[in-house]
Symmetry: C2
Subunit: 332 residues, 2 copies
């Protein structure tokens, strides 16, 4: 088992290769595109992201036996769809900053952000259709539709404070799980994996994505702003029900429950309310319980990889395992 | 040659069939979707539209020899993409009304309109990929990307008043021509048409779409608001350069040209300015010249159909010819 430093180094190396492919795509598109659109795409795509989704495509394909360079071209589609989603999400959430710089709609306006998102959406679909046919496209489109459906659910549930664990699971599947799972599944299909391989990598992806989101939601309460780059308590101040809070609500005694509801419904003195909510969650082990759900998901992700035993794909398996471990210990 | 009444009757009958297929799709999606998303989709899709794009898919497929009912399912994808475009365009253009009722973003908010557009976009791509493979998807995605590119060009050219006829052609191709052409081309491919048939129907579509848009732009100056449902002079009041104005600019003497530029740059007393611009366009035969470009495009559309001589597809050819004629004489 390699240590995390080696894993992050390997991830960084792959991200650089993926960046090259994205730049190549942009250069090929440039002559036929409006110059403003090009600027928006370059700004939104070349932002030093970790390229986790394309990386999962490449690793999954290799794990199933396909080591061709061509896989990177397919892999980029997942970064394009991810970016398209971010462009539109930042409008929806009214977020002015993304990775330390102005978000696309903040920099270029809402119109440009909507349109550039639509462009990347179409580009991503075309690439997946080209490399992976109708099966791949099906998975890919299902993920997009699931994301949208999840956002709608969030919109509809915005003022509800009695969400179940199942509601939360559906929401994080839409937000993160489906696209991560789709990257693994499409990579496996393109890589020529058999049915069991494809299913295993999908399971890996679903669990990785869900654990990632649970930890993200924990960091929103417990993260160090210096590392995460975000203030703590965002979710609470927006009245968003995430796992630590949901688990606390489910276990709290009536008095504490109604106190939580009052705090959620009346979030005027945020700092003070946040401290009280934090104390209640701690009292009911909400953070530990949420963390253990993430640990269980990562266990599932690990188990899903157990069927891959070929010696020549050991390096890829090790990175996938390392990514799963990293999700649990990440501080940012 | 049938008269226009018979043609519109045939179009209306087909639109009803297409509506049934759209309703069937919505009913099949419903159990898995958020209830608010369903409402938005029903509101945005079941609006009594003419369903011209799906109709072109069905007619093109039949003209190439495929009369299967299944074609309707593929055809609906073009209505979904069209609707997705309208949801986003109405945000971009800040249009509060669409076909006599509040636009989607006006009724359900910007967030819902962005998301529902993304959903339909993905649904449309998936359908085209399923029925028409990578070739169809390629054409479809190119049309989407062309639309976005056209919108960007418009954004970039918003304050330019020296557009060329070529700029205008690119803009209307993006706005209307590409998707109409894609409907015909994808229908022809699905219908099993040979290369010549596919190219011919594409040519028909490009020309039909461009003529449609030129007439639309003429109606913006000369239409009867009671029939079009829109006030005249919208394009001018937004400083939008359409064909009548571009052709006038190209032919006007220096004095008239600078008067036009002044009127365009200083559009405060709109009614008065509009009358002066209208007079100048009339003086330089801008309306007639624009109309003759539309007539030429429709001639091209007709010629493109001349290769289809099978007796059992005469009905479809007649409707396509009728649609082309209708575009020129439409008042709304």
């Amino acid at each position: 088992m390699k240590d995390i430093k080696e894993i992050t180094e390997a991830v960084r190396t792959e991200a650089k290769v993926i960046d090259q492919y994205i730049k190549r795509d942009l250069a090929a598109l440039k002559p036929d595109l409006d110059s403003l659109l090009c600027k928006v795409l370059e700004y939104g795509l070349l932002d030093g992201g970790k390229r986790i989704r394309p990386l999962l495509v490449v690793l999954s394909a290799r794990l199933c036996g396909n080591r061709e360079e061509e896989t990177y071209k397919l892999a980029c589609a997942f970064e394009y769809l991810h970016a398209a989603t971010l462009f539109h999400d930042d409008i929806i959430d009214n977020s002015a900053v993304r990775r330390g710089k102005p978000s696309v709609h903040e920099k270029f306006g809402t119109v440009a952000a909507i349109l550039a998102g639509d462009f990347l959406h179409a580009l991503a679909m075309e690439i997946v259709g080209r490399y992976c046919g109708s099966d791949g496209l099906n998975i890919f489109c299902n993920a997009t539709r699931g994301m949208v459906d999840g956002e709608f659910m969030q919109l509809r549930n915005a003022d509800k404070h009695n969400l179940s664990e199942l509601d939360y699971h559906d929401a994080i599947m839409g937000k993160t799980g489906l696209l991560i799972a789709a990257a693994c599944e499409v990579g496996a299909i393109y890589g020529g994996g058999n049915e069991a391989h494809v299913a295993a990598l999908r399971t890996y992806g679903v669990n990785l994505g869900c654990a990632f989101q649970i930890i993200d939601d924990l960091l929103d309460y417990q993260g160090d702003p210096k590392l995460t780059g975000k203030a703590v308590g965002n979710d609470f101040s927006e009245g968003k029900m995430t796992l630590p809070l949901i688990l606390t609500m489910n276990n709290a005694e009536e008095g504490d429950k109604s106190q939580l509801l009052t705090l959620l419904e009346n979030r005027k003195n945020i700092d003070d309310s946040f401290d009280q909510v934090y104390t209640l969650i701690t009292h009911y082990d909400g953070f530990e319980k949420a963390k253990s759900k993430a640990v269980a998901a990562i266990d599932n992700a690990h188990s899903a990889l157990s069927g891959f035993k070929e010696k020549n794909t050991l390096a890829e398996k090790t990175i996938l395992e390392g990514l799963a471990r990293y999700v649990l210990i990440r501080k940012k």
